[in-house]
């Protein structure tokens, strides 16, 4: 009997250690930024994912391999949540293949909308995270997390969390309505034509377009562009096995600058393809 118990406990410890080893590559939790319910019924909420060195997780479009990270939220009836805002991903390129994602620490922000009737309660928000994390190998990273949020009139988050939310917001794509943008299709590519930009175009190091939809364009950050006067032409090749013809192009346009800070400007674009040519 004692021998059986010893074996049982030994196996339990070993299995916990093995599971622990797999799980330590990433962990996730729900975090909430400071809010004031008097000012707004929207609470800034986020999924904070922390990855061990050399591991990465994927953007909404993973690129040539991997799997889009998906988050399914659950919350009490009447409470709703906005779409996640995806920070600008890194491009991981190797041997002609490119993936889009994040390493280190990543915060995926959303807004929780709480009706007045919840003013004196606390609510529990849960999230099911389904994703893939990769290094030289890939493992699924699935995590169920939840957080009880006490609804007080005003809440102050820890400085570290507030700093994380504000740094993340800086790194979100902006919508820039005043760029003159047109898309010109060709047999093997499209050209994004940009005019009337208010930058010193001589300081542009790289420009690339990362699409929201996979399987249409060749995935890479090395895209050819030409600058003439205040006009940029960025050529994006179609994928070798393009899955369909698009009527509209949506995704993010990234400008990398040569300036002292090696800054980036990133814009979300959504544009019909010009078929009049």
């Amino acid at each position: 009997m004692i021998k059986t118990l010893k074996t049982f406990f030994f196996l339990m410890i070993v299995s916990t250690q093995l599971n622990g080893q797999q799980l330590t590559a990433a962990n996730a939790k729900i975090v909430v930024d400071s809010y004031s319910l008097e000012k707004s019924r929207s609470l800034p909420i986020g999924i904070l994912i922390e990855l061990e060195k050399d591991w990465h997780i994927y953007w909404r479009n993973p690129g040539d391999s991997g799997m889009p990270t998906s988050i399914d939220f659950e919350m009490p009836e009447g409470v709703s949540i906005s779409e996640i805002e995806w920070p600008v991903p890194k491009v991981f390129e190797y041997e002609g293949l490119a993936s889009y994602g994040y390493d280190g620490q990543i915060l995926l922000i959303a807004e929780l909308n709480v009706p007045e009737s919840f003013i004196s309660n606390s609510i529990t928000v849960s999230a099911k995270i389904k994703s893939l994390i990769c290094r030289d190998v890939c493992i699924p990273f699935n995590s169920n997390v939840s957080e009880e949020i006490k609804l007080t009139n005003a809440f102050s988050a820890e400085e570290e969390i507030t700093k994380l939310f504000s740094q993340t917001r800086i790194n979100l794509p902006k919508v820039k309505n005043e760029i003159d943008l047109s898309i010109v299709p060709d047999e093997n590519n499209i050209t994004i034509v940009l005019e009337n930009l208010n930058y010193d175009l001589a300081k542009i190091n790289l420009i690339y377009f990362l699409p929201y939809e996979n399987g249409i364009f060749k995935n890479t950050a090395e895209q050819n562009f030409k600058i003439k006067n205040q006009r940029i032409e960025l050529m994006i090749e179609y994928d070798q096995f393009k899955t369909k013809d698009l009527k509209e192009v949506s995704g993010i346009l990234v400008f990398d600058f040569y300036d002292a800070n090696r800054s980036q400007k990133v814009y979300e674009i959504k544009k019909q393809i010009n078929t009049n040519n």
């Binding site: 041997e95 293949l97 990769c134 030289d136 393009k242």
Partner: protein, 199 residues
């Protein structure tokens, strides 16, 4: 002088063959690879047959989804009975995930009860790059006339969950069924999903 020119010309032509990119509705590029039993196979050995190319890495969780569930083996067996030639190809470079000794390949294949015609070893990645293979699995179908008629994912559920298989749209089945009844393949490409090929 003439001899040098001829040699250079041959080298140039060879490089063109290796650089040849597979394209839908064009002749599938020929290749020759050695299998896990030491036998050589060329694509042209199977002229006149429908051929499936399946890119593999036994340690990739997406490949494991389709092998642990017997989904891949079921497809291999079903369509082999209809005369389809199923070739499994591994382009994992030496030292990278998925690159195994022939003994290990044969052991794993036996354990999985795999029903491919041959497991072809493409260690230097030339054939993978010729076909633009990005993921494991990545599936290609060549019709009886030698034309590439499908390239893409095995199905439309880009996950590692076995549970997603039953409700997914299996593009390989759909394409093979089209071909076997003498029709054109209606869905010729889909976004491939899986681990990156470990070139």
């Amino acid at each position: 002088m003439n001899r040098k020119f001829v040699i250079l010309f041959i080298i140039f032509l060879s490089s063109l063959v290796f650089a040849q990119q597979a394209k839908l509705n064009e002749s599938a590029p020929d290749f020759k690879l050695t299998d896990s039993n030491g036998s050589e196979h060329s694509l042209s050995d199977f002229d006149g047959k429908i051929v499936v190319l399946e890119w593999i890495n036994f340690d990739c969780p997406f490949v494991q989804k389709h092998y642990d569930s017997k989904n891949m083996q079921t497809l291999q067996e079903k369509y082999s009975k209809e005369g389809v030639i199923w070739l499994t190809i591994c382009s994992s470079n030496e030292g990278k995930q998925g690159n195994f000794s022939v003994e290990e390949i044969n052991k794993r294949s036996k354990n999985h009860d795999a029903k491919y015609v041959a497991y072809l070893i493409d260690e230097d990645g030339k054939v993978g790059k010729m076909y633009g293979a990005k993921t494991t699995p990545h599936m290609y179908i060549i019709d009886k006339s030698g034309m590439l008629v499908y390239a893409g994912g095995i199905d439309d559920r880009a996950t590692t969950d076995v549970d997603d298989i039953k409700d997914s749209k299996n593009y390989v089945s759909l394409a093979l069924d089209d071909l076997l009844k003498g029709s054109k393949v209606s869905i010729q490409s889909s976004t491939p999903y899986g681990c990156s090929v470990k070139y």
